[in-house]
């Protein structure tokens, strides 16, 4: 029953509390080498955090969720396993996680409104929507050696010819779990648990050292 679910806006934009991204501490403690800084040469791998996005887990039947999502957001659920759908301007995405589970990522300030509208549309349907925005963060990885950094870190086949654009998997990454996906040809996205974000960040700095890895600052979107 959707009317018995307590839904609230978990964002602190309107409050006087300062939000810190899951990697804020890591940037301070482990540093943020600027791209192209190390030896005057271009970085062959660049990472950056896209913090404060809205992450919603949708669970339920594919047909009812697909219909609601098309109505509310204008994009459909990816039906095939391990696939990812991105909207026209690349800001919103839905990824297949399991036969009855999808990950929806939208700009942070849209999260609460979207969840409310989805619930209204779904009515009493047997579904679950969970806002996991605070529990995980998204790290972008780009550059010509991006897949080489990944090859050092995961057993999954990340050859760009087999791991094509629009694919996304949950797999092992440096002994922890990660959601790895390829929204377009130029970049990879890693979605990591908040408590593992520092570990993954430091792993990436270490693994990317030989490619002169840099950390892009502009991809951090602070809440206003």
């Amino acid at each position: 029953m959707s009317n018995s679910v307590h839904v609230y806006d978990a964002r602190t934009d309107h409050a006087t509390v300062t939000a810190e991204s899951p990697l804020a501490y890591s940037f301070q403690r482990s540093g943020m080498p600027a791209p192209g800084d190390a030896s005057g040469e271009e970085s062959r791998a660049v990472i950056g955090e896209r913090a404060f996005l809205g992450h919603l887990i949708l669970r339920g039947g594919a047909i009812v969720l697909d219909e609601a999502l098309r109505e509310v957001l204008g994009i459909g659920l990816p039906g095939r396993p391990n696939s990812l759908t991105v909207d026209a301007d690349g800001q919103r995405s839905v990824q297949w996680l399991s036969p009855d589970e999808w990950l929806l990522i939208v700009p942070g300030d849209e999260t609460f409104g979207l969840e409310t509208r989805l619930r209204a549309h779904l009515g009493g349907a047997h579904v679950a929507i969970v806002d996991v925005s605070a529990g995980q963060t998204l790290i972008e990885l780009s550059g010509e050696a991006a897949h080489e950094v990944l090859m050092k870190s995961t057993v999954y086949d990340v050859d760009p010819h087999t791991f094509t654009v629009g694919k996304g998997v949950t797999t092992l990454f440096a002994k922890t779990s990660v959601i790895l996906r390829r929204p377009d040809a130029s970049r990879w996205e890693l979605i990591v648990r908040r408590s593992f974000a520092d570990y993954v960040y430091r792993w990436l700095l270490d693994a990317g050292e030989e490619y002169g890895i840099g950390v892009a600052r502009e991809s951090r979107h602070e809440p206003q």
Partner: protein
Amino acid sequence: MFHIYCPYCEELREEEEFHPKGQAHIARPEEPDTCSDEEWGDYLFFRDNPRGIHHEMWLHAVGCRKFFNITRNTVSYEILETYKMGEQPTITAEHLAREEKNAREEKTNNAQVAEGGQQTVGASDAAVASVKGAQA
């Protein structure tokens, strides 16, 4: 290291992503209140430990996080098939025993033909070998 086919992800994944979860197809007694202690004890504690074909539940732990079934040979570790929860195996110990018996019978038949100096189409390797042996 194995590559295990997850029937939900529909692709081969690294063994590290999976966890074995014990014997599959264990039916819970329909009436726990009225079943005997022995039935309940068997259900809770007693598991098969066969030499050969075994059906097991596995979990795609770092992946889709779904349970599924594997038919596995406990001697060779060969994974013969994987299938979704609620489905039945196509390869069983009885099925293999039947195939083996058929193969044995076929071999006997072929051998009889071979003794007559003719080699039939589709003769098994063993039959071919026995023909060669006779010629040598």
